[in-house]
Amino acid sequence: MLKFILRRLGMLVVTLWVIVTLTFFLMHAIPGDPFSKEGRMPEATKENLMKYYGLDKSLPEQYVSYLIKLTKFDLGPSYFSKTQSVNDIIANNFPVSARLGIQALTIAVMFGVALGTVAALKHNSALDYTAMVIAVLGVSVPNIVLAPLLINVFSVKLGWFPIARWGTFAHTVLPATALGVQAMAVIARLMRSNMLEVLGQDYIRTARAKGLSQFAVVWRHTIRNAIMPVITILGPLTAALLTGTFVVEQIFAIPGMGKYFVKSVNNRDYPVILGTTIFYSAVLVTANFLVDVAYGLIDPRIKVGVRGE
């Protein structure tokens, strides 16, 4: 298991380096530079700024110095936010996005697994059909449509939750729901088909032949096996939820990372683009890594695969 973890960690670092490199050169391939938009800036000032930030050096030189700073976890200054470094921007705003994403993920996993399980256990009943209609709607309605709908019903009409902004737990409910519904629907469908498959397995018949109660058969033998593929997609789903916060943050006026990322691309704020991209990549790659490890812990067959090598 340790060997497996170490190898995965190594791969993780290599992946991140590739992402840094690609983003660095792609970003510089976008025409324009950070200061060309403020057209009336005197040429001399601009040159000073470029020099100050090291932009007058050749690309390879810039790349190397960036990598050196990166090893010290320094993501550099922001060209536009005079007071905050990229590290500050992430430290101040990512917790908000992360909370939103994690709450959305919690909603998605809890309700998705429950919905899929119930649907499978009541296969071909009205309950099953209802659950699957919800799931299809959930997958096909984008959150840019769902969010205003939720606001309209639960804030404007019913007045249960605040319309927008950030602060109390009540503020988080609607955005987290808007963000999580799609993932929930994906999980529900996956869970349902896994459950149906597992319920048809011979070892479920063995479990019943032992005289176990329906509950024990479902809980100990079915859900545990059916949930594994759900765990595998948790990595990509976490990714989708964390990076997908931009739209929801916009709609609910939430002070998360999304705003900075979009702004930085428009402004060619190189360190912010790079910093946020790298940060997000690190989050995603780590999420996938953790899922792999968790999977290895839960599924005994995987350990042997590693041992056998």
Binding site: Y203, T206, R208, A209, G211, L212, S213, R224, N225, D299
Partner: protein, 342 residues
Amino acid sequence: MTDKILEVKDLEVSFLTYAGEVKAIRGVTFDVKKGEAVAIVGESGSGKSVTSQSIMQLIPSPPGVYKNGEIIFDGQDLLNLNNSEMEKVRGSSIGMIFQDPMTSLNPTMTVGKQIAEGLIKHQGLNKSEAMERAVEMLRLVGIPNPEARVKQYPHEFSGGMRQRAMIAIALSCNPKLLIADEPTTALDVTIQAQIIDLMKDLQNKFGTSIIIITHDLGVVADLAQRVVVMYAGKIIEQGSLDDIFYNPQHPYTWGLLRSVPRLDSKGQRLESIEGTPPDLLDPPKGCPFYPRCDYAMEVCVNHFPEETKITDDHKVHCWLQHPDAPKVDVPIKIGGANNEAK
């Protein structure tokens, strides 16, 4: 009366499918005495598995329905029990082993836990007591180094060992009846013999009654004292091992026996008799075997023959038993080459 552990009477089981009602079991009556091993034989689709799973009420419902009959086990009719009463019978008084040991164990649970589960449920043991018993059970079924094996997962077991583990699960609560549905079909020939020997040993040791379903007449000869021959959801002949092997009465039984050159050649599957079994969506009114039977008469088409008792124990459903029926020569050498097998 009291020497019977199980009496199945007039059992009828159907599956309600989109295509219609599949009448899988159409009036099955047989019994199992205490300490006896009964073999159920018959071609694929004849209803052997459905019969055995009906006893345990493991038939998936829907689509399965019990239409008629009684399954009297140890004095009570299992078909009258509710779910939780039935759970107390399953795995405790009746154990079951299935055909494919590769898929019959849960891949994500240790073998020990899978044995312990039933003990915890039925015998009220706590976890550590149950695990100790699991080790004992593994030792009993001949798995070396059971203390280590008990903590392993099924994928770390070979096919034969998994079937031994299945037997350990089935016997863990010391059931009165063990049902084995083709327990050796999926195994190598040498392993097959070991598993059958193990079942024989355990039957001698604990006096467990056994229902064994198999295609392998070698296994039947080895293990069973009585044989039930099924065809198209009906029992067409039953009797002691000697009755069926040395004095078979039904042309279908002849066909089954003829398809095996020597009874002691283990691993020999029954070859199919020419023709195919009837469609159970619309089974024939008369004898289901008549389209394939060399001796079919007019009466066979529309009338299913009543039971004829050759002896108290040996019963057959065939019009050839009728006093007016022509005498026919049994087309296989009775006993014959098989005598040496005894």
